[in-house]
Symmetry: C2
């Protein structure tokens, strides 16, 4: 096999209890690189349209980045891909931690889980020895317990495991997959897919090696990049305060979705900020993922009071927004407790918080009575209610637990009363993450077109989260003028999103973290040089961006094959219809018309049909996706010009 | 079919006398555009390695550009492709005139001639009615007579024909194919291939239509571009004096290969210059090819003296160099006569002149006696000898005619005595065109890597033929600094050649003339816009350059499959070993070492193996040439890293 890649895909069929491995096709490495890219190709090939994502017909794919396991800065990430549970569409999640590197050292780049077991099992991968093992003693255990039992059973504290908690077992539609400890493949219900396969965990021990083609030059570049990253202001802040740094400022500038997006600020925002966690001693330790010197990951603990003993990873910005401001809670310790519960029960914090916020608004409008909520006073700001309802969701307990386990979209469909208007999901069905896309226009577009639903991890647009010299440079590079950096413009958002999309896809395919920002993630030249030196194959920046476009387009085509069209590329009703209520952003809305113009340009740049949003045949052929064009042609899903 | 293309390929099997047509695959249009690109794909698919180019196994392909037949400026060109006779390698020639547009109006984009007829035939294409007709009455006729007889036989003066003269019939190894009147698919012996198939001509009448997707926008852009071209200094000079303008200046600055590259200047150079032809009244008429307002094509006539009655198209710069300075002749009228003879007998003027120059040097060194030359005093400057020997070549008359009909490489191999050292061919076997690649370094590289042999039509490098504001802009775009525009540098030549290669391939695939220069041919953005507006398919500049690279690589792979390796990418012995003798360029040579460095960088930029010069598997896959990679793998011609 070529350098950098381990060279094998592991296929585990849980129905047939068959394990086999295949050589990773070199062609795929060249056309899709790895991680998210090759995962997308595997998903396209292996999942037939129209299947139930919780049936054995779904596949669950784990893919390490092409550079995962090397010491390229912050390159240890893994992509998890399957047909999503909340959306019935394409789903990919990126996860940090150490599991990916361990898998690669065990000899595998990708794992494909097919079929479903009758009884709970886990998979044990020990340097190329692979077993399907009984997991009846793990079933029902939370994430923390599961990891501890696995370490003990396998007699090795250095194993790395991914697992599901009770939420995944109970098929909560936004259950996540957790990597030890507290890294999450969070969104869209991939944990429920794992649960539907009765697969509790995949434990890995690897002690093999990877080859780097030009180790001296590679190391020199890595060293150089690490130096640059250390001096990068954004990176320094991530180390100091984590992703939750600056929350007070967001609130002060009316940029922190609160009370289910009824407001954009909240009193006491400082108490859920990263700075507060440091100052008040909640922060116990900063840690980095594999090969990462940024170390934004952290552990926090509550030493005293009602929630004493709470200990977990995080909380991230998205968590303090979802389990804090958007449910009206600024009680630090309650938010830390809610975060711990989600982590150990295996729940996506964003969907959990946004679904509860929907329930709170429904309650505040008098549509829910206490009977509907199993006696809980489910109103905004009730920290106790928040902490109570989370386990009920994970275990589908009571009326309210079972209802909210379905996510905001399905819950609103069950409840009616126009409650879909405040369910913060778009047509695809995923809960919106912590930005107000009424006035952050690049995100508005990016959230709308994201194949997995309206969240921020399709493209994290640099200028949307604060001005910086780096942001200005990138925006100037893309648009020709740094003035377009303002997030209030709708002009050039399509160009900006298109640039970042390609970067993002490549970043995920290589295994990089987006927090490497301007120095790696946003610079295809640097990524190309790293991959070329590691693999010995010359990739230019143009090659990489072209591969990025190929990946993005293949993901889009998965949704096209499932029946999605332009109408799926929208935003929650509130974002499109209810103006922001106060502050400098008062009156902002991203109307259908405004979004439509951005979408038109976005499809044009992609060379997709603006009516259907489907790629033209010739677009697919230019990208070397002939097999995709053929299949869509058979389904009559190639648009006519 | 899509707009712009006619939509059909015509296949004529002369052995089986079978005519069929197939729809032009849309995939090919997207991956190879048309003209040279689709021709290359057809050649790869249809010609097996190792065949004799003069056997029925060779195919002869005519391909119109994707925009040929539209009124895009200077877009009427046709590419002729086959396995070459002089080189046994890839051969493509580009031809101007009206034939391509006529073919498109008849409903065809490409014609593929397979097999060989027993008796002389011609093909008559009348708007989709295609016949193979007896040509016994045309066989032996020259190009002028052939066209006149065809017009009369078919009762239509508006037909367009391509045909061969006696040289093609007699399988002269550098016989050309002539389009009516006096446009040439000149190089490499494609006329001999046509002769080997006993195909005298292809006459076409078309009165159909082409569709333009966005006619208003297309017309506006065309109008705008024509305006720019009219004011372009280079274009004005081409109109005034043709390609032979400025010859005196080249000589004054020691930049005009003379006496078989023994010198770089010649007394009396002004008498073979375009300016002289205008001033002295030899020029009778300026004409443009289809859709061309540049009008560099011209007709010249000799009214009096020994060669009175001489009338033909041209002469071009390459002709006045080949039939003038390099054979030491500056007698205007003799050069015009030699030009006429080549045109009507169907000989490539470059190979004719350079082969005769080799013979003259051989004669001057006393290796040839008059017995060897059938009594002709074949010495430099003997205009009478020049005019006498050309028909002898075309008819393979006498010892000398038959010898020189083989081209300089084979003639030198027969004669021995180190005469290969002054045969101005490289390893591939094509006669070098009119530049001194000892000191024009971009051309040195470009001539060396040209798949068809060492000539100027692989990339015509803007800075190599004179400084201009446009040249500086392009060089700055490619290299970052306009100082690299000097043709004496070897640095950045690889980058420059790589840029122009891609441009050239696209230009030829679209049907454009390279004389549109800075405004079209060298600007992929403009070409992309024209093709997008005409076809309704969005092509970006990046798409086009990527397609260009795909075409170049496929052409390279044809040669790899035929057995070529890095040793084929060289220059004539004299260029590499014998310093330029005088003037400001005195002492210059392009040594093996110097060329080697440029080649190393060139292969690196291409992602080809520097040892063999073969493309890596991954390079082919990135370009969507999987089928090529598979075939080369079977032949063990994919280099190991």
């Amino acid at each position: 096999m070529m350098c950098a890649w381990a060279g094998k895909i592991l296929y585990v069929d849980l129905t047939k209890e068959k394990i086999r491995e295949k050589e990773l096709p070199k062609e795929w490495c060249i056309k899709f690189i790895g991680g998210r890219g090759i995962n997308a190709k595997l998903l396209w090939d292996l999942v037939k349209p129209g299947i139930d994502p919780l049936s054995p017909d779904n596949v669950l794919i784990f893919g390490t980045g092409a550079l995962t396991g090397t010491n390229a800065p912050s390159s240890g990430r893994t992509t998890v891909t399957c047909k999503g549970v909340l959306t019935n569409l394409y789903l990919k999640c990126s996860m940090g931690g150490y599991w990916g590197a361990e898998l690669k050292y065990a000899g595998y780049d990708h794992i494909v889980i097919m079929g479903a077991s009758k009884d709970p099992v886990y998979i044990w991968i020990n340097n190329g020895e692979v077993e399907i093992r009984d997991a009846s003693h793990l079933w029902g255990k939370d994430v923390r317990e599961t990891n501890k039992i696995l370490q003990s059973d396998l007699g090795d504290r250095d194993i790395q495991a991914v697992c599901i908690g009770p939420a995944g077992e109970n098929l909560v539609k936004y259950a996540c997959i957790m990597g030890s400890f507290y890294n999450a493949a969070a969104r869209g219900g991939c944990g429920a897919v794992m649960g539907s396969k009765k697969l509790k965990a995949i434990a890995v021990r690897g002690s093999g090696e990877l080859t780097i083609k030009y180790p001296d030059k590679f190391m020199e570049l890595v060293y150089n990049l690490k130096g640059k990253l250390q001096n990068y202001v954004r990176v320094k802040r991530l180390y100091m305060y984590g992703t939750a740094g600056g929350v007070k400022g967001y609130s002060d500038f009316y940029d922190l979705p609160s009370f289910n997006w009824q407001k954009d600020r909240i009193d006491g925002a400082e108490k859920i900020s990263g700075e507060y966690l440091v100052e008040k001693g909640y922060l116990k330790r900063r840690v980095g993922c594999f090969s990462c010197s940024i170390s934004c990951h952290r552990y926090t603990e509550v030493d005293h009071g009602l929630y004493a003993g709470t200990f977990s990873g995080g909380p991230e910005y998205e968590t303090v927004f979802a389990l804090g401001s958007t449910v009206g809670v600024t009680d630090t310790e309650a938010v830390l407790k809610a975060n711990e519960l989600c982590n150990i029960l295996g729940l996506d914090t964003i969907s959990t918080g946004v679904t509860i916020a929907w329930a709170m608004e429904t309650y505040s409008r008098g549509i829910f009575s206490k009977e509907d909520t199993d006696g809980i006073e489910l109103k905004f700001g009730n920290a106790d209610a928040l902490v109570k309802v989370i386990p009920m969701i994970a275990y589908r307990q009571g009326k309210i637990g079972n209802l909210l386990a379905e996510g905001a979209k399905r819950a609103a469909e069950q409840i009616g009363h126009d409650s879909w208007k405040w369910a913060m999901v778009n047509s695809k069905g995923l809960e919106h993450s912590g930005v107000d896309t009424r006035f952050v226009k690049g995100y508005a577009l990016s959230f709308a077109v994201n194949p997995r639903g309206c969240d921020h991890l399709h493209t994290q647009v640099i200028c949307e989260y604060g001005y910086s010299p780096e942001a200005f440079k990138i925006i100037e590079k893309i648009t020709g003028d740094k003035k377009w950096a303002s997030p209030r413009y709708t002009e050039y958002r399509a160009e900006i999103v298109r640039y970042y999309e390609d970067c993002y896809a490549v970043t995920d395919a290589l295994g990089f973290c987006t927090f490497t920002g301007y120095y790696i993630h946003e610079d295809p030249d640097v990524m190309a040089e790293l991959l070329s030196l590691a693999s010995g194959i010359t990739f230019t920046a143009t090659d990489l961006m072209n591969i990025g476009r190929r990946i993005i387009t293949l993901e889009k085509c998965f949704n096209v094959r499932e029946g999605a069209d332009r109408s799926y590329d929208d935003l929650p009703w509130r974002i499109m219809n209810e103006p922001a209520p106060e502050g400098p952003v008062k009156g902002y809305v991203t109307s259908l018309n405004e979004l439509g113009k951005m979408l038109d340009r976005y499809y044009e740049l992609h060379e997709w049909d603006p009516k259907t949003s489907w790629p033209y045949k010739e677009t697919l052929i230019k990208l070397g996706l002939e097999e995709v064009a053929e299949e869509l042609a058979k389904l009559d899903k190639l648009p006519k010009r």
